[in-house]
Symmetry: C2
Subunit: 170 residues, 2 copies
Amino acid sequence: MQNNVISTTEFITPAQLLAHWQGHRHLTRRVVEAFPEDKLFDFSIGGMRPFSELVLELIRLTIVGAHGTATGQWKDVEELYAGDTKPTTKAGILRFWDDATALLNEQWPSIRPERWQEMDAALGQYEGKVYSIMLYWLDNENHHRGQGYVYLRALGIEPPFFWDRGQGNW
Amino acid sequence: MQNNVISTTEFITPAQLLAHWQGHRHLTRRVVEAFPEDKLFDFSIGGMRPFSELVLELIRLTIVGAHGTATGQWKDVEELYAGDTKPTTKAGILRFWDDATALLNEQWPSIRPERWQEMDAALGQYEGKVYSIMLYWLDNENHHRGQGYVYLRALGIEPPFFWDRGQGNW
């Protein structure tokens, strides 16, 4: 799916980066699954958003980010996804998640190799090199999923192992 | 500090990666500072470790990881750091943190460019390419710092902005 003609001194290839991110996404999906249906939407700590809202943010950023990185055009998620962007059930969130997974896999190979070191304004407003914009999505996912772990622990539920990115059915 | 003769198609250069990680580390340091002294060591949610223990893990991984990446030798932190590796005060943790910052900056330029795509066993036991080992430290930091955000919110304390990696005094 990816151009593999790379120098051996590259830190990470685009194909490796996609696999790395999708591995994290696979883990995040399992954290969604670990939540009881009601707690996914109404449990929170210290006035924070419930995990459903954090996850919807992650899905939006994945879809908008993949498209923006590939095309240079920053569109609203509603322009890029015909399904339900505000699901109110766990099944609906997982469907949205899986569709984002497919969209990310579809867009990734069309990202030009020199794109990562170009300047852009993510979502039309946050200036930076594209690599740093892309890493923001990944870092933000680790950040919010870590918060989901605390919610699960507070609910007495053991979360999946952080290191287990088993490349399953995504 | 870093060899800048790179192709323009590289996703991220080693110098950019160091700056990215140190930006995150700067933010994590500010999260440590935001904790009241006692809560840093005794507050937890759902049976999790207090934030002090999460941070000591991050510091150990930074020191051991930087040295292991640079040299291929995986040593215990006590072999690499002459100071107090089990501080019991916030000031002690911050001192350990800052020393790790300096050690990371010192080691980084000696990492061979082809090192990232080599196989190794992190800490002598976790096999993978070196880039994925290095990303583990970064991802793990985002994960645990996100948990620190929940602790702070539960304590009624507003954490620093996630996106503010102001390259201050690290």
